[in-house]
């Protein structure tokens, strides 16, 4: 069953220097319980996609298209109804643990809020549940920790606290924005374990935004590759990693340390640039004259969806 279905999503920001279009014609389905990874280089619009789903973008953003969660189109939903979805239907595991907890509020209270709101728990019950959740997520002395403020916690503990917060409303979809960014290998493994644990506990689907192909490989059923605001390839994890179809995906895999770290030459085009043909044209090794002006749709090549006229 499809949990979230995104159709022709476009997100643009109005800025002084014109319109920045961070998401272009995104089509993406997430099944119940599925884990979908989004990869792509920095600034390609991954976080913006995640925040578009939650409708948590700054005021200068304009989002069009359709984001269907179960039966409802989130983009036309009222603020009130959207608030019920946030936390309750779709949870967020934010990007940076160090700044994502309120410094002036006890950890416990920050977890309780969601419990009281979405599970209609009383204060004492929520308090107990918050401690239980922290314990479950591997925090020792959870009772004491729930009485502490964020600055008293280590980075790993903060991440666990945020994980607890993200699932308080028993969401059916969890959006995790670069949960492993800037972590060393050991902690990274822990976070991957944590995410597995969260999935096992809640049965939620996971939208994992990451730079890290390793992490994506460990967790994801399906991987979506974004480039300059567009989805350029989308397929089952093993398919993408073993037999990438798009030249950009190939390049990405070759830039991995194991593959000899050969970076793709050049830079991705600015998001405010309007390009009628392929956005990867300038950097592409197999480009042809047609790529320059012809609109390139997502098409099925060997079972992957690929945005390339000459993919094999």
């Amino acid at each position: 069953m499809t949990l979230l279905s995104i159709k022709n999503l476009n997100t643009a920001f109005k800025t002084r220097n014109g319109e920045v279009q961070a998401c272009r014609n995104i089509d993406l389905d997430i099944e119940v319980g599925q884990t979908v990874g989004i990869i792509g280089e920095t600034g390609c619009g991954k976080s913006v996609l995640g925040m578009s789903i939650l409708k948590l973008l700054p005021y200068n953003a304009r989002v069009t298209g359709e984001i269907r969660y179960l039966e409802q189109n989130l983009l036309t939903l009222s603020d009130q109804a959207m608030r019920e979805i946030r936390g309750g239907g779709i949870g967020l595991l934010p990007q940076s643990p160090s700044t994502s907890l309120n410094p002036a509020m006890k950890i416990g209270t920050q977890i309780e809020e969601g419990l009281v709101l979405h599970r209609k728990m009383g204060k004492p019950a929520a308090k107990q549940k918050a401690v239980d959740m922290l314990t479950f997520l591997g925090i020792k002395k959870a009772k004491k920790v729930s009485e502490q403020f964020p600055h008293q916690l280590s980075g790993g503990m903060k991440q666990r606290a945020l994980a607890a917060i993200s699932i308080t409303g028993e969401p059916r979809l969890l959006i995790a924005d670069e949960p492993t960014k800037g972590l060393d290998a050991i902690v990274k493994t822990q976070v991957v374990e944590l995410l597995k644990q969260l999935k096992a506990e809640t049965g939620a689907a996971l939208l994992l935004i990451t730079h890290d192909l390793k992490v994506a490989e460990c967790l994801c059923d399906k991987i979506v590759v974004m480039y300059s605001g567009e989805i350029i390839e989308m397929a089952a994890t093993q398919k993408i990693l073993k037999k990438p179809a798009h030249p950009y995906t190939k390049g990405l895999l070759q830039s991995l340390p194991e593959a000899g770290m050969t970076p793709i030459p050049g830079q991705s085009p600015s998001l405010s640039q309007v390009i009628s043909g392929c956005r990867f044209y300038d950097r592409c090794e197999i480009r042809q004259a047609a790529c320059r002006y012809q609109r390139v749709p997502l098409s099925v090549v060997n079972g992957s969806q690929v945005r390339c006229l000459y993919a094999d």
Partner: protein, 313 residues
């Protein structure tokens, strides 16, 4: 933390010492012969003899080197002797202490007025950023900071005393007398405080943890009051501290308009009368109060910030 406070106190002492030097220099750089002026104030300008002036120069120690005079003055002040008024001959400190309560009363009332207006206005403007409400609030705030308070005072008198007759034109007494001066002094302050409240609220609302709070599905109201306000208060307090300085400066004008018998009016009157001793003492007092307030605000900031107070344990 205590080390920090100790360090601040040392700095404070240095600054206050500097303030005394500056005040002293100003008085001595002023044109005119001090001894002669004292003599004039005592005996009148007519039939003043050189002998009398010279006698005063000797008795007041005005013939000794400047450094000696400064230390003489400083030691006297430390022992609580701020000299006598050149006009009345009464001890300056006594006069100041009599008037201090009036100024403090006015300042606190004005602070209250400004906070009651500014904090809600700033919070609302920030939470409804880019709305019409926001623009209106911010425009009024900017106008508020640009209105000369001496003019505002007159307008208020014109409207509420002269035309409507609700409040007395000037004078000192019960609450009725306090309304217009406090409004005058508080309004300009409210403008600045509103702007700063809004910007510190916005700063907080742009933080990651507010996004976390939003992602929980909390109501905007809960986000503002439970999550943002508490964090915004720390910078707001600092702002209030800085603003108190403007407030002290404003008392000079407001007290003059409304004949409010505080230190501000005393200062202006003494300048008119060229009563150096009183001017000196008032200026010094204003500076000391101002520095002390800033110190208190800084220390308060430490206590309010959970991060720092924790390290103390």
């Amino acid at each position: 933390m205590y080390r920090y406070i100790g360090k601040r106190l040392c700095l404070l002492l240095i600054v206050i010492l500097g303030v005394t030097v500056l005040t002293f220099t100003l008085m001595h750089a002023a044109p005119g012969d001090m001894a002669e002026m004292i003599a004039i104030s005592r005996y009148g300008a007519e039939n003043l003899t050189t002998a009398e002036v010279e006698a005063i120069r000797l008795s007041e120690g005005l013939d000794s080197p400047v450094m000696v005079q400064y230390f003489h003055w400083l030691t006297h002040m430390i022992s609580g002797d701020f000299g006598n008024s050149l006009i009345t001959g009464e001890p300056v400190l006594e006069e100041i202490l009599i008037r201090l309560p009036a100024t403090l009363k006015l300042s606190f009332a004005a602070l209250l007025v400004s906070l009651v207006i500014a904090i809600p206005a700033g919070v609302i403007a920030a939470s409804k950023q880019h709305s019409l409400m926001d623009y209106l609030t911010m425009s009024s705030a900017l106008i508020g900071t640009s209105v000369p308070n001496f003019w505002l005072g007159l307008l208020l008198i014109l409207l509420f005393s002269v035309t409507l007759g609700w409040f007395p034109v000037f004078g000192y007494g019960g609450l009725r007398y306090m309304v217009l001066p406090a409004l005058t002094l508080g309004a300009g302050l409210a403008g600045i405080t509103t702007r700063l409240t809004r910007s510190s609220m916005l700063e907080v609302l742009n933080q990651d943890y507010v996004t976390t709070a939003r992602s929980k599905g909390l109501s905007e109201r809960r986000i503002i009051f439970k999550h943002a306000l508490k964090n915004a208060f720390i910078p707001i307090i600092t702002v209030i501290g800085i603003q108190l300085g403007h407030l002290l400066g404003g008392t000079v004008i407001v007290e003059s308009i409304f004949a409010w018998p505080g230190i501000g009016k005393l200062l202006v009157d003494s300048i008119y009368a060229r009563d150096f001793a009183t001017v000196q003492a008032c200026a010094l007092l204003f500076a000391i109060i101002f520095v002390l307030i800033n110190l208190i605000v800084d220390v308060l900031y430490l206590f309010l910030n959970p991060k720092i107070s924790y390290q103390k344990e």
